[in-house]
């Protein structure tokens, strides 16, 4: 489904990604973790072409994202993405947030878009908030709506960029619950997160990154029980140790 081959990326002289290679199969859930500044968010943003890469090749469902003439808008419409800071459109109601791309990109009629939006709002437990504006909602609620907004496009895969990092602790669960449900339904997911409980529960594989490189890429249980690298061991002891 997603294949990342040997990609490298620089900001000026600074190398943020070096020779990263991995892949995500259909229906697989892959968690990407690592210390801050390790390049994990950058990696996931390269998958739908939000960040360009200088070297290497990324393909999603057979289409090359990194090709010079790639039709990125068409490609992105098929991959959902959820951001750390939700990025709901503040000037639109919840319902409008969910309908905009459905209507403008997929060409759905108003009625069809609203029906789909309402169904997804119910699914994330936000059906009573359709008319509200993002500023009237808590972070957890906003993030659940952001997930619904992505799902409204019927994506073939979902990318999550630290979806719970900006949330108060008591709101993390409500967002993770939605993600767990999504994973259990067979959605292909690539998730940058520090939520190791989530990883243990639903991830098929864990990718550990450090200094722009993929250090470990292994089945979940192997990674937690028996990390190969010292850096991963160190990271795990810090993040699980408290």
């Amino acid at each position: 489904m997603i294949s990342i081959e040997n990609i490298s990326k620089w900001y000026g002289d600074f190398r943020v990604l070096s020779n990263c290679t991995t892949s995500v199969r259909k229906g697989e859930v892959v968690v990407v973790c690592g210390p801050s500044g390790s390049g994990k968010s950058t990696l996931i943003k390269c998958v739908n072409g939000l960040e360009p890469v200088q070297e290497g090749k990324i393909t999603v469902d057979g289409d090359e994202v990194t090709a010079k003439r790639a039709n990125l808008t068409a490609l992105r419409s098929r991959i959902g993405m959820v951001f750390q800071h939700f990025e709901l459109y503040p000037h639109m109601s919840v319902l409008e947030n969910l309908c905009l791309a459905q209507e403008k990109v997929l060409g759905r009629g108003r009625k069809e878009a609203v029906v789909r939006a309402e169904k997804l709002l119910t699914r994330v437990g936000m059906e009573d908030h359709a008319k509200k504006y993002p500023s009237q909602l808590s972070g957890g609620q906003q993030q659940r709506i952001a997930i619904a907004r992505s799902l409204a496009m019927d994506p073939i895969a979902m990318l999550f960029d630290e979806p719970t990092s900006a949330l108060d602790p008591e709101m993390i669960k409500e967002v993770l619950d939605v993600m767990i449900e999504l994973a259990q339904e067979g959605m292909t997911m690539m998730v940058v997160t520090h939520e190791m409980g989530f990883a243990r529960k639903v991830a098929d594989r864990v990718i550990f990154m450090d200094e722009g490189a993929i250090v470990e890429d292994r089945p979940t249980n192997d990674f937690f029980d028996n990390p190969e690298s010292e850096r991963a061991e160190d990271f795990l002891s810090k993040i699980l140790g408290h």
Binding site: L100, V105, M153
Partner: protein, 218 residues
């Protein structure tokens, strides 16, 4: 005070009102035209396409380096030469105002567009919206909203500047007041009255800006 005769104002109100209407109408149309053209200039400048942004930047810097009155003169004399026929004082003044104000509005809109977080653009991109759709539905509405107080402030300045149209013999409020002042020989009263009217309109505008600002900050 006994020498003052404020009746002259009362008797020439219809005449002055006509002048004020012209001032307001010119202001209104110039704001609309200026914002539309200014937004296009701002988009061109931020487009990342070098020739486009260069043209827009040159235009803005050029216009901002000449006095408005010169631009009004230009178009009064230039447009008939280009079109081969006169278009009247009002339209030539309107064109001058729109083109002049667009340079200022484009700088305001540019700041507004840049005030929209990058994440918002990413959100639009990630759902497959194209460049124009993102600008139209995501960036510009937010840019515009963030900039409303400054846009209104610029509108107040524009309203004051409409008094310059006397140079192309348009009868705006200021010109009408002058005419009455001179023909009736009541200079002090009329200019005092004109000042009061400008003050009331512009100060109301400033109050509007203040209330908009406080409403937006909550």
């Amino acid at each position: 005070m006994a020498d003052f005769d404020f009746n002259v104002i009362w008797s020439s109100l219809p005449f002055l009102w006509q002048g004020l209407q012209l001032s307001l109408w010119l202001t209104f149309l110039s704001i609309i035209g200026g914002i539309v053209l200014g937004t296009l200039l701002a988009l061109a400048r931020l487009s990342g396409i070098l020739p486009l942004s260069l043209i827009a930047a040159t235009y803005v810097n050029l216009i901002r380096s000449v006095p408005l009155i010169l631009v009004i003169f230009w178009f009064y004399f230039l447009v008939p030469l280009v079109l081969g026929r006169p278009i009247g004082s009002f339209y030539s003044a309107l064109i001058a105002f729109v083109l002049f104000e667009a340079a200022y509005y484009s700088e305001i809109m540019r700041a507004g567009i840049q005030s929209v977080k990058r994440g918002q653009i990413h959100a639009g991109q990630s759902t497959g919206l194209n460049y124009w759709q993102i600008q139209r539905y995501v960036v510009l509405p937010q840019a515009f909203r963030n900039m409303i107080p400054i846009l209104v402030t610029q509108g107040i300045i524009l309203f004051q500047d409409t008094s310059l149209v006397f140079v192309v013999s348009l009868r705006d409020f200021m010109t009408a007041s002058s005419i009455v002042a001179r023909t009736e020989g009541r200079l002090v009263e009329m200019y005092l009255f004109a000042a009061v009217v400008y003050f009331v309109i512009c100060f109301s505008g400033s109050m509007l800006v203040r209330s908009l600002k406080s409403r937006m900050s909550t």
